[in-house]
């Protein structure tokens, strides 16, 4: 485990460079600023509705994915571009351990940066609406979404220099357009896993057998974002953990089979 934590520590330092982290922190704070501006000129209910129908998408569908994509792609991509991968790989460590440690580090970095913005957003929401119940849900959803995108992009970062571009295209086309238009594939959407967890925590008690029957205001607000995906924390957790496991297995396999230095 000492090797695992050594890799995590150095990767965190590598990912959270001064210039990069400032840029990403600014990005993660954008939804909070928007919410603050809206909240100052709206009723509590309008602010709450705006948060659930619009801002939650900006947090879980835009800022958290972008931050996680950049840091996820960098976890192995930075090593590749700095040509330090040999320093890491030519050690008596299983490839799975290297990749898993890198993934954990990228997830922690993403959660630290995106979570700071999400926390700020939750504080603004609590301050304007007067309810602090949703803070935990927002943070859990951020953690789940971050892990999903880090897992998806770490592999890309290992195999191509254009990982961030490819992942952003995926985010726009698949996550943004396709899964929104076709509810049959909406469950593959990573950011909706985060929304699903959020919904599971916030409205779990209200979600009855007629889940989309607009029984509660929360349900009604989130229906469009979920696009047919059932709410639930554990389902979302299992999905992103599965994605992370596949990502680690495939990346470790490629690390063994492909040349480490081009």
């Amino acid at each position: 485990m000492r090797r695992f934590f050594a890799i995590v520590k150095v990767t965190l330092l590598q990912l959270i460079g001064r210039r990069r982290s400032i840029g990403l922190l600014v990005l993660s704070a954008v939804p909070a600023v928007i919410l603050l501006l809206v909240g100052l000129n709206s009723t509590d209910r309008e602010t709450e509705e705006f948060f659930r129908t619009g801002l939650l998408f900006i947090v879980l569908g835009v800022t958290v994915p972008i931050i996680s994509i950049i840091l996820g792609a960098g976890s192995l991509g930075d090593e590749r571009s700095a040509k330090t991968l040999s320093y890491l790989a030519l050690r008596p460590i299983r490839r799975e351990v290297i990749v898993a440690a890198k993934l954990v580090a990228a997830w922690l970095a993403s959660f630290a940066v995106a979570g700071a913005g999400a926390l700020l957003t939750a504080i603004v929401l609590g301050y304007t609406v007067g309810s602090w119940d949703e803070m935990l849900a927002i943070l859990v959803a951020t953690a789940i979404t971050a892990l999903g995108f880090v897992a998806a992009t770490q592999l890309l970062g290992y195999i191509t220099d254009r990982a961030v571009l490819i992942a952003l295209a995926y985010l726009l086309i698949w996550e943004g357009v396709v899964t929104g238009a076709a509810s049959q594939v909406a469950s593959t959407s990573i950011w909706r896993m985060g929304v699903s967890a959020y919904a599971g925590i916030v409205a779990g008690d209200h979600w009855g057998s007629d889940a989309f029957g607009l029984e509660t205001q929360v349900v009604a607000d989130l229906e469009d974002l979920l696009s047919g995906v059932l709410p639930g924390v554990w389902g979302a957790v299992l999905k992103v953990l599965g994605l992370a496991a596949v990502s680690v297995a495939v990346t470790a396999y490629l690390m063994r089979e492909r040349d480490l230095v081009a």
């Binding site: 090797r3 590598q14 320093y87 460590i93 230095v261």
Partner: protein, 314 residues
């Protein structure tokens, strides 16, 4: 071009058998068979000869397209435990710029599973003479300092096999002498040290054995003189300084062992097929003619000459 044995050593730590590597249509290494043992072996060849590709395969960074390779009896691509006993100094500037030199080396020790990383790092840093700069971040290091901290990072797990790709790049003359002495010390301790370099003078100073590659193939193996001796179709060039070069030249031309004679700036340059015969004949001849010899020096026993013959065939 002549292919020369021995490409193999008695007690190999690394064995390369019919090894090939190609990238698409380009063949980088073709059917290489050789072995490496304790001591310093120079991997020599012009740019594009395939020496870095071979080094990377031996270090486990690159997968052979065909053939077999074992390092300390195991396949480095399959058995990562072998890296407990292997160190690599890559040609690339492969350092974590945001770490201090000490942390960089300690990290290597932690990754290698060394029992006491701090003490191992201190030992390796001292060995490369980086003690004073160890607390500074690598981003502020000169090229030579980066090179030395990479060497420390490769030494920190006390490797039995050390791969060095252009290890003296950027090092100043004092650092070069120190690093070469360090590599000799490692070789004396019974470690296998493989140095890839395009600087012949460096290889000559470091290596007592050379594996020469041309166009991805094994071109020659052995020490420089042994490789040179195998070029039987190319006469040796010898410089002879004397008080009367022209008279000596005329006398030498009558000897069977001499192929040609040339006097340039009062210095005699001859070509001979046999250095031994020349040596046996020259002194008595000079004595008979009452000629004083001031210097007799073979001109093409150096690695540079050998290299020229290997690459250009002349």
């Amino acid at each position: 071009m002549t292919s020369i044995s021995p490409a193999f050593v008695d007690s190999p730590t690394i064995e390369v058998t019919e090894l090939s590597k190609w990238f698409g249509q380009k063949v980088a290494v073709s059917n290489m068979s050789c072995s490496f043992g304790p001591g310093i072996t120079g991997l020599l060849g012009p740019n594009g000869a395939g020496k870095t590709t071979l080094l990377r395969m031996m270090a486990g960074l690159s997968q052979p397209s065909r053939g077999e390779l074992t390092v300390l009896g195991t396949n480095p691509r399959r058995e990562t435990q072998v890296f407990q006993k292997v160190g690599l100094v890559p040609e690339d500037d492969a350092v974590y710029e945001f770490l201090t030199g000490r942390r960089f080396v300690e990290y290597g020790a932690e990754l290698a599973g060394v029992r006491n990383p701090s003490s191992a790092a201190e030992h390796a840093i001292t060995a490369v003479g980086m003690g004073e700069a160890a607390e500074r971040r690598i981003e502020g290091y000169s090229k030579g300092m980066r090179q030395r901290i990479k060497v420390a990072g490769a030494l920190v797990n006390d490797p039995e096999v050390l791969f060095l790709d252009e290890p003296l790049n950027g090092a100043d003359p004092v650092q070069r002498v120190r690093l070469i002495e360090l590599f000799h010390q490692l070789a004396r301790e019974g470690r296998t040290v493989i140095v890839s370099s395009h600087v012949l003078e460096e290889v000559e100073k470091m290596a007592n054995r050379v594996i020469a590659m041309v166009d991805g193939r094994l071109a020659a193996a052995g020490d420089a003189a042994a490789i040179r001796a195998a070029f039987t179709d190319i006469p040796y060039r010898v410089r002879i300084d004397s008080d009367v070069p022209r008279r000596l030249g005329s006398a030498l031309l009558e000897q069977d062992v001499i192929r040609s004679v040339e006097v340039i700036n009062d210095t005699l340059h001859i070509q001979t097929d046999d250095l031994g015969d020349l040596g046996r004949m020259l002194a008595p001849l000079a004595r008979d003619l009452d000629i004083r010899l001031t210097m007799v020096q073979p001109e093409d026993l150096s690695l540079e000459s050998v290299f020229r013959y290997l690459v250009h065939g002349r």
